[in-house]
Structures are given as structure tokens and as C-alpha cells.
């Protein structure tokens, strides 16, 4: 029993990282109606940027976010302007291919620069742990969770307390109507993509400090993130966060009760089970032609 509780606690802590990464992905979908298949690769890119900063300047991984998040924000805006905006017809299908190509490009470049060997981000809190109610919890999970909470909080503040956030939400609700009331949806789309990619960088640091990764890790990551946002309902931030927690807690409990080999599998089985009952996901709205 205590093992199950410990697994659940760990699931919640790691679920926070996935909630953060999935929020960026679902935000991008909500604003532009495109699936960013490159999100996993962008997370890994963020992790490698922090890795490079650590290797060259011994910069603390969490501190390096001050540098990597603005860089990744700019990269996101550029990617959107160059590759997503020119798509006029058949955007939904073509954007999948374009972002897939971006993922392959990032994987190739990272493989060229850093080789395909697994690496890990290092910091003092990576292995140090503390005991609570008889459980041993490594600091890094708690710090990572807190960081994710902070960034998610900032994201929600931006969305619900600023004019720009209002423009984003209006665009998510109805693109045409948003345009009609004078919102520059092209600008909102580019900036929202940048915000999504910047959160990917933050997710990348926490992911990289709790997992060994290589340039090919993005496949595994994107399949999980996509599963999470479909489970939560495409375009729903709340859904993404709750789905991330459900997924990771179930996964960690399965790893303890059944076997780690099947933990990954449960992830997808939950998705299939939910889709049979609710094709629109937990918080999704069933919109004709979209879902």
C-alpha cells in the first residue's frame, strides 16, 4: 500500500512536468487549430540548450531558463512565421507534416551537434533526497513540480488577467469573430506559438533533469503529450493538466503493481477507453467538423 502511495505521489510530481509541456501543445492547438508534432523535439531542444549552457558555463539548469526561454520564444515565433503562416489550404493536415518535418530537422541537428549518446542534466538536487512520512523523495522532483506550477500559474495569469491573454482566448473561441472585433489574429498566433515553445523549454529542463535523453527521445515524448491533450480534450488547458496527472499517476501505479514494462502501455489504453465513451476527450467540446 505504501508503495502505491509513493507511486501516486511520484506520479503527481512528474505529472506536473507533463502538464506544463501539454499546456503549451494544447494552447498552440487552441489558437491555430494545428497539431504541433514538433513539440516533443522542441522540449528536447530546450533540454539540450540547458545542457550546453551547463557544459560551457556551469550554469544551473533551472537558472539557465532565463536564457533559454526567451531564445525558444523567439524560435517559436520564427517557426510560426516561416513555416506555419504560409499554409493556406488544408492547414490541419499540412501543419502536421510541417511540424513533423521540424521535429526531424531538430533531431538531425541535435544528433549532429551532440551525437546520439544519452545525456542527463546535472545539479546538486538531482540525487539529494529528503524523507517525508517515511517516503524518500528526491529534491529535483519537488523543485521541478514547483517550477512547473509557477510557470503554469504565470501562463494562467497571462491568459486571464492581461489584454493579450484575452485576445488569445478570443481567438481560441472563434477565430473569425476575434478578427471581426479587431484582434490581429496573425500576430496573436505567432506570439502564442512562441509562448507554447517557451513553455516547452521549461518542460525540457525538468524532463532533462529527471530523465536521460537523446535526440531521438522526442518520439516517445510527443506520443505521450498528444495522448494527454486528446484525453483532456483538444484546446483545453484545464483538460491537459488533469489528463497529465491522471496519466502519470496511473502509469506509476501500474509500474509498481504490475510491471514497469506495461506502464507505458496503460497510457494508451486509458486513451482508447476514454475515446470509446467520450470521443471529444474529458473537457473537449464536440464541434462539428473539428473533433
Amino acid at each position: 500500500m505504501s508503495l502505491v502511495l509513493q507511486a501516486a505521489a511520484l506520479g503527481i510530481l512528474t505529472g506536473g512536468v507533463y502538464a506544463l509541456m501539454a499546456s503549451g501543445l494544447t494552447l498552440i492547438f487552441g489558437v491555430m487549430r494545428i497539431i504541433n508534432v514538433g513539440h516533443g523535439a522542441l522540449v528536447i531542444l530546450g533540454a539540450y540548450l540547458s545542457f550546453a549552457l551547463f557544459r560551457s558555463f556551469h550554469m544551473d539548469p533551472f537558472l539557465s531558463l532565463v536564457v533559454t526561454m526567451p531564445v525558444m520564444f523567439a524560435l517559436g515565433v520564427i517557426l510560426q512565421l516561416v513555416f506555419i503562416r504560409p499554409l493556406k489550404t488544408d492547414r490541419e493536415a499540412l501543419s502536421v507534416l510541417v511540424t513533423y518535418a521540424i521535429a526531424l530537422g531538430i533531431e538531425g541537428v541535435l544528433g549532429y551537434v551532440f551525437t546520439t549518446n544519452y545525456v542527463e542534466l546535472r545539479a546538486w538536487y538531482e540525487t539529494a533526497s529528503f524523507a517525508i512520512f517515511g517516503f524518500h523523495i528526491t529534491y529535483v522532483y519537488v523543485f521541478g513540480f514547483l517550477l512547473c506550477l509557477a510557470i503554469l500559474g504565470a501562463l494562467f495569469l497571462m491568459l486571464y488577467r492581461t489584454a493579450f491573454g484575452g485576445a488569445i482566448r478570443a481567438t481560441m473561441l472563434n477565430r473569425t469573430a476575434a478578427q471581426l472585433i479587431g484582434i490581429d489574429v496573425d500576430r496573436v498566433s505567432a506570439l502564442a506559438f512562441g509562448v507554447g515553445v517557451a513553455t516547452a523549454a521549461a518542460g525540457g529542463v525538468v524532463f532533462g533533469i529527471t530523465n536521460a535523453f537523446n535526440p531521438g527521445s522526442h518520439y516517445d515524448l510527443i506520443s505521450r503529450l498528444l495522448t494527454i491533450i486528446v484525453l483532456g480534450g483538444l484546446g483545453s488547458l484545464r483538460g491537459a493538466i488533469i489528463a497529465a496527472l491522471i496519466m502519470l499517476v496511473t502509469e506509476d501505479i501500474t509500474a509498481v503493481l504490475v510491471s514497469p514494462v506495461w506502464a507505458n502501455f496503460v497510457f494508451f489504453v486509458i486513451l482508447v477507453a476514454v475515446l470509446i465513451v467520450r470521443p471529444q476527450g474529458l473537457y473537449g467540446v464536440r464541434v462539428r467538423d473539428r473533433i
Binding site: L97, Y100, G108, Y112, L234, N264, F268, L271, V272, I291
Partner: protein, 347 residues
């Protein structure tokens, strides 16, 4: 019928030229192992024809109904594993006999596709894309985890014919792949002309309206999905026999899944000849990149660059764009009269 062929009728020589071209192409494809018997060339030919078949099969679902599946690699893997397990457990002597099991592997793949399709087709558009990706990873994880059945990460060895040596080894596989590609093309051609195919195109244009005018959309979508999957499964079976060793990450390979999609987009989504042209061009480029830059991982960057250029410059694909150019060149005055619907059926 299609825009291109009505044009041909008007010109008169069109269909004859087209038929002649097809005959030349068919003769070339049939004689290829005699013209260039060295294993390096026939190996490339096996993979090129394999991708022609895969892209054509994918197009039956993706191109005609507009439902983009990124998880067709799952069916490729199911076909390969079904074939490998049948050959091993039925104790079949390697040689020509295992080829007879290819349709059986296809049928088994179809059974899986009915189940997967039933669930996946409850969703549409973006969600469908993601669900197909999820299913691909489910199949990959199963192949890795059911160690007793599939051998897991250590791989599954499929017996191969030892007495086929030298230049001859690739030839039977080439003809098997060619036969499957022709079957896929025939199926695609027949569907395109049938009432069923018309229903699929109606689903692509507006699913709700199609349902309203009496197209049995669910049954049609599932049928197209299963046909497409069964063809991919059979091609996977021949691939499994050809490579003789099945590893989860190489048989259920996301890159194979995305390649057939990109080839179809490059040639022209929903057209008959598009996937063929796309496959021949892209497979050539892919092999070239892998051969020259494979070791340095730069080939991924090049592949992704080609990918991006294709989509940004030719979002509609080669065949529709060229058909458009030809039409404008033939009758410049009337080009304004072409409706979008007319352009869409051009093949």
C-alpha cells in the same frame, strides 16, 4: 471521368499516348531484374516498389476520405509479425511457399484494422491523426513487450531461402512487391470510379452533408480504412520475409508511416498517379541522403528540408499542379471557368 482524360478525348491522341506510356512503364517494371540484375539495384527497386504500394494504399484512406492516418506503420508491423509467426509456427520451408501466406497476413491485419478503425473513426480531423499515432505506439509496445510471442527487442528471425543466392535473391521479392503495388493501384483505380469512391470523396468534402444525402459514412470510412490497412499489412509481410529479421522499432517505424504520407502529398493527395510519382522521387532522394550522410545524422536534416520545401512550394502536390499548368496552357481563355471542384478531381 477525370478532367485529364476528358481533355485527352478532346485532343484525340491523349488516351493512346497514355496507354502507350503505361505499356512502356509496365514492360520496364517487369523486365527490370533482367536489365539490371545486380543486387544493389534490385534492392533499391524492391524498396521503391514497396513505397509505391504503401503510398497508393495509404491514399485510399488518406487521399480519398481526407482522414490523415500517421499510424499506418502499425499495420505494416502487424502484417510483418503475422507473416513471420505463421511461417515459423506452421514450419513452412522457405522458398516460394511462404508467399502464399501473404494474403493470410493481410487478412489478419484487416481483422486488427476493423477493431482499430472502429475506435479511431469515432473521432475526426486532428483527433483522428493523434489516435492513429497512439495506436502505432500501442502496436510497437506490444511487439516489444510480448516477448514470448515476438521475441521482443531481441527480434524475431524469419527463415529465409538459403538456396536463393547472388543476383537472384532479390528478384522474387521484387516481383512480390510489384504484384502488391499493382493490386493496390487496381484497387485505388476501381474505388476512384465506383459509387463507393464517390461516397469517400463526399466524406472528404463535407462529411455531415454526405451523411445527410444518404452516404453510409461510418461503413464507408471503415471499409476504406480496412482495405488500406490490409494492403499495407501484405506489403509489410513481404518486407518481413525480405529483411528476415523483425525488430519492433524497425518494423513499426514512425518514419515508414510518415514517408508514405509525404510521398502521397508530394505526388498529389487523392490522385491515382500521385502516390506513384511521389514514392519514386522521394525514395530515390531518401536512399541518396541515407547513403551519403547516413552516418552523420545530417540525412535527417536534409530529409526534413525536402519535406518542408515540398509542402511550402507544392502544397497540392505535383500531379494537380502540373495538371493545372497543362490546362492553362491548352486553353488559356477558358481557365477562369474552371471551378475549384473541377480542379480537385483532376488526376
Amino acid at each position: 471521368m477525370t478532367e485529364a482524360s476528358t481533355l485527352g478525348l478532346r485532343i484525340g491522341r491523349g488516351p493512346a499516348l497514355k496507354a502507350l506510356g503505361l505499356v512502356v512503364l509496365a514492360v520496364f517494371a517487369l523486365l527490370l531484374p533482367l536489365i539490371a540484375p545486380d543486387p544493389a539495384t534490385t534492392n533499391i527497386a524492391v524498396f521503391t516498389v514497396m513505397y509505391v504500394g504503401l503510398a497508393t494504399a495509404w491514399n485510399i484512406m488518406g487521399g480519398y476520405t481526407g482522414y490523415i492516418s500517421l499510424g499506418h506503420a502499425a499495420f505494416f508491423g502487424i502484417g510483418a509479425y503475422a507473416f513471420g509467426l505463421l511461417v515459423i509456427h506452421l514450419n513452412i520451408t522457405p522458398g516460394y511457399a511462404p508467399f502464399l501466406l501473404v494474403p493470410v497476413a493481410g487478412t489478419l491485419t484487416a481483422v486488427f484494422a476493423v477493431g482499430i478503425g472502429w475506435i479511431a473513426l469515432r473521432t475526426r480531423a486532428a483527433t483522428f491523426v493523434i489516435v492513429t499515432i497512439a495506436f502505432m505506439f500501442i502496436v510497437q509496445l506490444l511487439a516489444e513487450n510480448l516477448v514470448k510471442l515476438t521475441g521482443g527487442g531481441a527480434g524475431l528471425s524469419v527463415p529465409y531461402p538459403h538456396d536463393w543466392g547472388g543476383d537472384f535473391f532479390n528478384t522474387p521479392f521484387y516481383y512480390a512487391m510489384l504484384a502488391l503495388a499493382v493490386i493496390a493501384l487496381a484497387a485505388s483505380w476501381w474505388i476512384r470510379r465506383s459509387k463507393f469512391g464517390l461516397g469517400l470523396l463526399a466524406i472528404r468534402d463535407d462529411e455531415d452533408k454526405a451523411l445527410a444525402v444518404g452516404v453510409p459514412t461510418r461503413a464507408f470510412k471503415l471499409t476504406a480504412f480496412v482495405i488500406s490497412a490490409a494492403l499495407v499489412g501484405m506489403i509489410g509481410a513481404v518486407y518481413g520475409y525480405y529483411v528476415t529479421y523483425l525488430y519492433p522499432q524497425f518494423v513499426v517505424d514512425p518514419l515508414i508511416g510518415i514517408s508514405m504520407v509525404l510521398m502521397t502529398f508530394l505526388g498529389g493527395l487523392g490522385t491515382l498517379s500521385g502516390p506513384v510519382i511521389g514514392a519514386v522521387l522521394l525514395e530515390r532522394a531518401q536512399l541518396e541522403f541515407a547513403y551519403r550522410f547516413g552516418a552523420s545524422r545530417l540525412y535527417l536534416v536534409l530529409f526534413s528540408a525536402v519535406f518542408l520545401v515540398v509542402i511550402l512550394i507544392l502544397p497540392r502536390g505535383i500531379v494537380p499542379s502540373v495538371a493545372d499548368l497543362v490546362r492553362r496552357w491548352r486553353r488559356p481563355a477558358a481557365s477562369d471557368a474552371t471551378t475549384p471542384a473541377e480542379q480537385r478531381v483532376a488526376s
